[in-house]
């Protein structure tokens, strides 16, 4: 299950999609909009995705962690558009017979997502905005 949506994310949908009777462990990772970053207050975030490439890369990452770890199912949802403080931007659910591979695979998935999936985050902080990872894009609104 791969979801890229402007709607709020519901972790229960993802967790429910991966849980099978053969599984002893389900990990759910939630990425949340924090109220601070790099020592300054954050007002909200805005995410943009290049589709369908983002969907394809997410599928490749699912295949990658299934190849490498003994896990069962993987579901991922990424929100795009405006995401307010305390709201979820990313949810990943991974099921497995045993817990350790599920933990390792989920962490690896998030690490890789942040390297290869064409999704960008613009931070609206107090007094300005910046595309994360691209300092030259910073603008102040003072």
């Amino acid at each position: 299950m791969i979801i890229i949506t402007e709607q709020p994310l519901d972790p229960k949908v993802l967790t429910g999609a991966v849980r099978e009777d053969t599984d002893g462990a389900v990990i759910t990772f939630e990425g949340i909009t924090r109220n601070h970053n790099d020592g300054r207050g954050v007002e909200y975030l805005e995410y943009e995705a290049y589709r369908p490439m983002a969907d394809e890369k997410l599928q490749e990452l699912i295949d990658e962690i299934k190849d490498r770890w003994e896990i069962d199912k993987v579901a991922v949802a990424h929100r795009i558009g405006r995401v307010d403080i305390g709201e979820l931007s990313l949810v990943i659910a991974v099921s497995a017979a045993h817990r350790r591979p599920a933990f390792e695979a989920t962490l690896h998935f998030v690490d890789r997502l942040k390297e290869v999936v064409p999704i960008w985050k613009k931070e609206y902080f107090e007094g300005g905005e910046v595309w994360i990872g691209d300092p030259g894009s910073e603008r102040t609104t003072a």
Binding site: G31, Y50, M53, A54, H78, V110, W131, G133, D134, S137
Partner: protein, 81 residues
Amino acid sequence: MKIVIKLFAGLRDRAGTGDFFVELPSGATVKDAIDTAQHNAPKEWTAPISLMAAINNEYVGFNAVLSDGDELALIPPVSGG
């Protein structure tokens, strides 16, 4: 040949557009397309460090050769999650 260029995030902001066509000679590479695109966009822009490129949704190196009708995405540092 005609190539679709797509720009995203901070790159789109700099160039003043997200989507445009460039005409290139046969055999042109990604690097050639970027050079052309920098002058063809509404605003002249410079590439950020760590720029990546994808042809038809697959990452490629800057020496990759383009074909007519390709979609070339110029991808500034990603920051999903």
